[in-house]
Symmetry: C2
Subunit: 182 residues, 2 copies
């Protein structure tokens, strides 16, 4: 049975058990040797079609494309939509993690992300315009039995520990190696 089809209480118990197990396992490993906390995530992409990419990440995969306005076939979400989706979904994981840690109950959680992008940067029309998002807005909609103060406390903990929010808001060093045939 898919876990999304479980009754709310069954799902909460499953989530709680998993978060306990994951937390204990990591804590034990990291206490033994802090180096165990250092993970490397690897993702591979192959350019396909007009401007699309087939991505593989472990046993999973997904396609990325562009709409016709950016020379694509509109067969899948675009790179910047995946970036916003990564931010939303990372927030969700960290909401689950810290809600569990702080004993805060969540009935439902929906997050909308908006990103502003001026394509003059991408097209090289204006070098003073950055290529990426000039700004991103997150609208986090949470329901549940707690006071607003408790959810604000949760939000503060989440935003201090969310990996993809950190990726968006702080510079990450990226090195590029180009391999050619000759």
């Amino acid at each position: 049975m898919s876990e999304t089809l479980l009754e709310p209480t069954g799902l909460e118990n499953l989530r709680s058990a998993r978060l306990d197990a994951a937390g204990s396992a990591w804590s034990e490993r990291i206490t033994t040797n802090a180096a165990f906390a250092a993970l490397t995530f690897t993702t591979n992409g192959r350019a396909e079609g007009s401007v699309a990419t087939d991505i593989t990440a472990g046993k999973h995969g997904f396609r990325v494309d562009e709409p016709a306005g950016l020379a694509g076939g509109d067969s899948a979400p675009s790179p910047v939509e995946y970036a916003l989706g990564a931010l939303i979904s990372c927030q969700v994981v960290v909401y689950r993690l810290y809600a569990h840690q702080l004993g805060i109950k969540i009935d439902s959680l929906e997050i909308k992300a908006e990103g502003d992008l001026d394509v003059r940067g991408l097209f090289g029309i204006n070098s003073s315009v950055r290529a990426g998002f000039s700004g991103v807005r997150l609208l986090v909609n949470v329901t549940g039995p707690e006071t607003r103060e408790r959810y604000v406390q949760l939000q503060v903990a989440v935003d201090a520990h969310c990996p993809v929010l950190d990726l968006f808001t702080n510079p990450t060093p990226v090195s590029v190696e180009l391999v050619t045939e000759n």
Copy 2:
């Protein structure tokens, strides 16, 4: 017929025609009014299951999950894998765009991304460890008939204009609004 099944020459002609059309359309719109260059991308997510999220982006959607080690059901790639996939696929689009603009031919393009992440930041075990990637490595493998110098010229143009590379390497302002019931 899917565009990935076209013969290489047919696909190149299709891509070239699309990139010409997209470039002309944007150029005309932006020349008329620079404000037309300003786009807003919107993505919505709903928390599902244990720690998963269902994302919608226009007519497309995708699921995000975590492996068991992070309390997930391992039904889909994780948030940070989508972030790396967004970076790879954005590079591919911008390689296509600038290869077309510079008259550089590409036979195949594969990109691998590796991201280092220390989970002590996520779990709040060590506040001096950042929550996000400490570093990312891109390995770009391009084949084709051009000299290495030409592909290096292409890489420099791509890395100066890639929206998701800009998102990774530079800080992006993110505002968060929390909506609760009371």
